[in-house]
Amino acid sequence: MMTVMTETNPEMPTSSKASLKPRADEIFRGLWASLFYSGRTGGKSVLVCSSGSGEGSSTVACGLALAGSEPASGARVALVDFNLRNPSLHRILKLKQSPGVCDVIINNGQPETAAQVLSSTLDVYTAGDVSGRLLDVLRGETVQRFLDTLSGGYDYVVVDVAPANQFPDAQVLAGLIKDVVLVAYTEQTPREAVAQAKKRLEANGGKLVGLTLNMRTYPIPKFLYRHV
């Protein structure tokens, strides 16, 4: 049935439609709500990053965007892959890597040219060609303009970025986007690493909205949990 819809929808010829699995959908909707409907964020753009690599910031960003862009709400969401070191959004969503963010910024082009439409309410900007000088990409004035254009064109912008403790990218973007969500891998990320990431992000004017515990474990069995 869905395949039929894809084929019949002429607006998204270059992309495949993606959705969250039901349980994940529920969880990320809750996360979306606690992020945007609780007055914690200043704007409608949010930066998702982690302290180290492999902690799931891309997955969380993807899940957030998918949960927030459900057609019923009608809000338009942009998911931007600013993880130029190890771009992975296109792999998760099975999209093309280019054209993407890098190409737009280096060529000083229009953001719309790189937008890959996933559904009527969700556009994805993949990383693009990341072989160039990445810090120059981030420093340029065009980044600001790029982000401004996006926040003007969409209701919500979710940006994925490289690990804060390993690369300066997150720090640079935190100065532009301000609202940051940190992703931590439960029982693996040391609290010192998270504290360090927090310090780095706040150094450039970013504001840590909150922590998301990824891969959360519940060691206490249910029958005991009620009693302790």
Binding site: M2, T3, K21, L35, E187, L211, N214, R216
Partner: protein
Amino acid sequence: MNRTLREIVRILASRFLGMVLILVVMLGAAGVVTWFSPRWYRSETTLLAKPSRMVNPLEQQQIANRDQVSLFVATQREIIKSDDVLAAALLQLDGWDGGGEGPSDQEIRQYIDQNTTKMRQVSGYVNVVTPGGPDATFTQTFTIRVDWPEQRSEAAKLATGSDVLAARKAQAFAQHLVKAYLHRYVQLERQRASAGTKFLTEKSLAAARTMLDSATAELQAFIDQELKGDLLQLINMASTGGGLETGEASLKTGAQAQINAMDARLKELRTLQKVLDTELAKKDSAELVVPDAVTRGNSSVGLLQEKIIRLKLRLNELQPRYTEAYQELRNVKAELAEARSDLRDQLTKQRTRTEQEITLLSSRRDELASHVAQSQKRVDDLAAKAANYQRLQRAVTTAQGIYDAERQRVASAVTAEQLASNPILVTVLGGPSRPDPVRPRRPIVWLNMLVALVAAVIIALAYAFLADHFDHSIKGVGDAERYLGVPVLGSIPKLGRGIVRVR
């Protein structure tokens, strides 16, 4: 409280697998080790200990009998587990057959050098116990326990009757051990006693003898050099009770009386001299008054006085007949005057004599005083010598006493050695028991398992809490807020591979 309890439960639950693993591994290891540890055959020999009543003559204080028994058993344990005894027993077990007294010291030494590991092993098989615990002091029996392990080799297991052989071996070893022990014990006792005697006869007695000799020599030297002729006097003084002090006092009082008498006489003479001086100072001889003392002491003065009185009477008689006998009168007058001048002369002479006497007397008095002082000094000297003499004599007496006691002790030590050469201090009450070959002894499995369980639980708990303490990872919402001060937006549980479905 609730939160702490939750923390503890969380720590335990999150390391549950590791803890269970530790428990299982430790219990399993304990079980396996206990199960496969060697069984052994036990042979026991009970001995009655009669601690020797013979006390060490050098030891002043007697120790209590209880302590003596305990000490004795402890000593026997050392002897039984000593290399010498074990080696002797092992040699005999291996079929040594030299007859008589058992293996010689040289053979034993050689055996020990060649089988060090075996010696250590066998030493572990042997144990000495007392009923009522290892330090019981209320018993005089002790038990030699031989725990001989069963053969572990496959060949030994396959051989028929190997268990019977092992049991028999345990008993045989126990037998040889007791024999070797008793032999060694007698040998040691003999050595100890003879060493003690040797020490007493050679060193202690000689020391006492030397002390006595030196004391005597010292006394003799003192008598020869210091006392010389005074010895008799000293002995006399010492023997006549009060002795020195009384003699000295009598000497002093006699001389003092003499001096006092001389002093009185001198005083008398001096007054007389004064009187004579005043009389002689008179110009007119007729006015001379003769003092009684002079009259008593000098007969010529008395005669002169009588003559003067007679002449005076004659003068008075002649006075009326002055005229007739003028010539006679003049003669008498002249004679009177002559007599008076003679009296003056006599008095003058008397004065000179008195003076001479005073000089003589005072010189004699001084002499006497110096004599008294001299004798005092001599008495002091004598007293000092006497004290020294007494001290030396006492030293000689003491040395003599010690020497006598020492000689007595030597005599008793010789007796002790004679006793020890045939000591009947340990008696075998029950011979080595024969272990049951069918049922060897084995460690108690459930007890070992219980100990292992307790240890494992402790180790598992320590592991869980330590691991949690050193793990700084973020474990939950509480951690994030406590350590970072960051609110948690949400938790994403493990959702499996791929949360996105792409079509």
